[in-house]
Symmetry: C2
Subunit: 343 residues, 2 copies
Amino acid sequence: MADGSWIAIDAMGGDEGLATMLAGVAHARRRHESMRFLLVGDEAAIRAGLESHPNLSAASEIVHAPEVVGSSDKPSQAIRRAKTTSMGIAINLVKQGRAAAAVSSGNTGALMAMAKLALRTMPGIDRPALAALLPSLGDNDLVMLDLGANAECDARNLVQFAVMGAAYARTALDLESPRVALLNIGTEELKGIDSVREAAATLRASPHLPMTFTGYIEGDRLSRGQVDVVVCDGFSGNIALKTAEGTARFVADLLKRAFRSSVRSKIGFLISKPATELLRHHLDPNNHNGAVFLGLNGLVVKSHGSANAIGVSNAIQVAAKMVRDDLTRSIASDLAGIEAQAA
Amino acid sequence: MADGSWIAIDAMGGDEGLATMLAGVAHARRRHESMRFLLVGDEAAIRAGLESHPNLSAASEIVHAPEVVGSSDKPSQAIRRAKTTSMGIAINLVKQGRAAAAVSSGNTGALMAMAKLALRTMPGIDRPALAALLPSLGDNDLVMLDLGANAECDARNLVQFAVMGAAYARTALDLESPRVALLNIGTEELKGIDSVREAAATLRASPHLPMTFTGYIEGDRLSRGQVDVVVCDGFSGNIALKTAEGTARFVADLLKRAFRSSVRSKIGFLISKPATELLRHHLDPNNHNGAVFLGLNGLVVKSHGSANAIGVSNAIQVAAKMVRDDLTRSIASDLAGIEAQAA
């Protein structure tokens, strides 16, 4: 990442508490010696917590915040306390230019509302989108967006999401021309809903964009490694994401039941444990942590509420990559390209 | 099922061919001695195939159809050949009252279009819906609809789907008052899109319906066994269904990779094979086969294109239960209740 840039950390957000957040930040710091952090939250608690992480102490400053956004606070409540909560202050540090990005494991709805209000959408973007990396059978993870920032989207929104998602995939996955597809309920041109069909027509007519538009993809192909970016409205995207999470857990639960069903299968399980651990590792959300709000004048990363230290470190890694590649500028330049084409 | 009722079988549809269809019908017949079948398709081929199934021969009649709907035929093409294809003739036998239900493993889009055109929607139903049974961790399978018949739905459609889904769950799952939920991207009252919120308000205000409306459900809870019926528009429903199928296959593929990763894990796999077979059995789509078009003046069941004989037999079982419980009448009477309440 660019030298001299700081990352603001909402040290108080998340279900696992301050100690996990600090352990995660310390882990990220060990990975990248040049990283520096603004740790936002209760000053005394952070100071005490830092005693176990001397390496992190040297690379960070504490920014005191007297309050915390609760996990069940409504976005409207949280917004009113933007200036006193660790989440609100972390975002404001980005707005003020003191931090290049903010990372929080706190309440998603509050983070989204605060980030949108403080940072505003980029010129040319009507609505920001929430993007995440999902596991796949391919060589790299899959970028999927929107995952719930916008329940209803028109064709223009979807095209903007495609541009932002491709820019993000170039950064997060180091791909030159990511393969981008629209989520739909069939692969023929006439399938689905108007917004998706119109977005496909625009993307087909924009071959100059730094992406390879591959058309439609159905839900059962998401994890096959055939595309790098999947674009959808926030309603179906959130449903697809959560259904995938729920199904993975469902299969794992069935497997557990099956392994417990007899002495023989228990023994087989113990012997093959390294194999099932490999599976667990691949599906562990901590290894794909760090959802990103794209389309704002500033970088904000959402870490899973239940992320462990490795998960937090991975979310920070996501933020650092976006800072290094100046993602905001890259999106702006692609958008200018699409507007010029349309004009 | 009611004595004297016949089930029409599109003997030519499906990827597995006539022999599999006939083996499936014969299996269903062995389960239920009173079942009788109208086998629709190429007369000579069916006659030859029946030689291996004397028990089925005695309980069936052949209805000749000179043509077959192809798996990639467009619905509009198929409709034009409704009177000459095995699929079209099977549906027409329902329309004429000669069969109480039709079962096909053929092209879904064509089946839906033909069924809708021939049978028309029931009074009080604006649009038919495609419903299926999905595996869950609960005591029974889960009914989910719409799975793709209608890409866009308003609140009124969703309420009708809830009524039809509950009636279907009473029949297919033998439940008195099925727990019904609307698929949404949050569980708070204000979450999601207008159509879902309005449908929830109507269902909350209809406590006289033979269902227990439980509010919203998110994608990650679908298979937890907490509800019996999940209602959604056909776009997000199809995406959720296919994402679930794809994720289950993804996890199974990862597991296979993991088991193959070392000699040790291969040995563990062999020992625990009965356990993983149990899992495979639970997830096998053949064991949940038989999607249903609800809301038409006649019963039509869609069997998976790749269903094996057991799968076909299960789809026929679904049709037989609907015939036995006179599902069409049951939906009509619930709808009358909701209309009376609204008046």
